[in-house]
């Protein structure tokens, strides 16, 4: 069967994810609220592995 399988997140990936969320929070504080939400979704998609 071709099924989905997750691998564990490395410490490096976790650190960059936290960094990205901090950047998104700073952007929201600066008034770029929609762009900040977009950054959070972009980080989520990066982990998911979308091919588009």
């Amino acid at each position: 069967m071709k099924a989905s399988r997750s691998r564990p997140t490395s410490g490096y990936e976790r650190a960059w994810t936290v960094f990205g969320i901090v950047v998104a929070v700073l952007m929201a504080l600066a008034g770029l609220s929609v762009a900040a939400v977009a950054v959070v979704f972009w980080i989520g998609m990066s982990h998911y592995g979308s091919n588009k």
Partner: protein
């Protein structure tokens, strides 16, 4: 099963059908359209556009899943992201969901304005023609990668533009052209995942026709051309814009390097990792444009914009490099050869 269970199951089927990662990508294009038209933080407009885009996407995915069921059973058998193949929904239910979604997309577009209605109607027609026989553009080689981006890029982007002003300007269309050509470069690579089933069922994709090397060459050319057009469509030449330009340029350079790596080696696991990395950079470019246009609209000081763009550029390159090395977190396992043989004999 209680009525509540039925409703929950139906809703779950719709959420899976909308393909959340694809929806997020289309949402980026919609927000970019709004930002380009000068309203990056118009929440109500954005909500309407996203609702229309989600309904449009459900229709497109339903058409595609119904038409490609046999191929998906080989390429994506058991994948929970394919509800028809995984058994989460029946053909009849998916068909009904598609028609209801098409109606909903048109209705919501009316709320945005008549240009949005025209854009959505054309998008639905093209999307149906992409998957459904007798037209079925998906099987017509070079036409498929040219048409699918037109739906995925143009519909949400133009909905965003026309929600603010009646007609797009020359700069809006130039930016759309760059995004469109760049997306062709990414969509060509998606066929690497599906090459076995596509070849088996006679789906003449660009990859099946021309092979790995030429697909990568064409993809890299689209990346270069698309990025050049996007950069040319950014006219004001402020300091912050220079930062946006070099960040976008850096993403494109890394993407071409990953594509060169894809051309050089043949390994399904590595292919998946490199294609995911290229996609991350493509989406990062849209994000950089959104941030730049939003900052200009908001009147942020160049220093703050400079900081955000550099931080995002660093984040994009690190994420892409990490995924290129280790692969995405959610992976697909290959179909055992005996199952491929079984599907092949069924196809024959």
């Amino acid at each position: 099963m209680t009525a509540v269970d039925g409703v929950v199951r139906q809703l779950r089927g719709i959420v899976v059908t909308v393909r959340p990662p694809v929806f997020v990508l289309l949402a980026f294009y919609a927000e970019l359209g709004l930002a380009q038209a000068g309203k990056p933080n118009a929440y109500v407009l954005l909500a309407k556009i996203l609702a229309a885009t989600a309904a449009f996407l459900v229709f497109s995915v339903a058409c595609n899943d119904l038409a490609d069921e046999a191929i998906d059973r080989v390429n994506l058998s058991g994948d929970p992201r394919r509800p028809l193949v995984s058994g989460a929904v029946s053909r009849a239910r998916l068909l009904a969901t598609g028609w209801v979604a098409a109606g909903a997309a048109l209705l919501i577009s009316v709320l945005i304005g008549w240009p949005a209605l025209v854009i959505t109607a054309v998008g639905l027609a093209v999307s149906g023609a992409y998957s459904v026989r007798p037209v079925r553009i998906a099987q017509r080689g070079v036409l498929a990668p040219l048409l699918l981006p037109a739906c995925y890029v143009a519909v949400p982007y133009l909905l965003g533009i026309t929600a603010v002003r009646r007609a797009p300007t020359g700069t809006d269309l130039a930016l759309l052209g760059g995004l469109y050509v760049g997306f062709i470069g990414r969509i060509l690579l998606k066929d690497f995942r599906d090459v076995r089933g596509d070849a088996m069922f006679g789906k003449r994709t660009f990859l099946v026709r021309h092979g790995r090397r030429w697909t990568c060459v064409f993809s890299a050319c689209c990346w270069a051309a698309g990025t050049s057009v996007i950069l040319a469509a950014m006219p004001d030449g402020s300091r912050a814009e220079h930062v946006a330009r070099y960040t976008i340029g850096a993403c494109a350079v890394f993407a071409v390097l990953f594509i060169a790596g894809l051309a050089a080696h043949e390994n399904p696991r590595r292919d998946e990792a490199l294609i995911s990395a290229v996609a991350i950079l493509g989406r990062a470019m849209i994000l950089i444009l959104i941030i730049h246009l939003s900052a200009v609209d908001l009147g942020l000081t160049p220093f703050i914009e400079f900081a955000f763009l550099n931080l995002l550029g660093a984040l994009a390159l690190s994420q892409a490099t990490s995924v290129a090395r280790h692969g995405p977190r959610l992976r697909l396992l290959p179909v055992p050869i005996e199952q491929v043989d079984e599907q092949h004999s069924l196809a024959s």
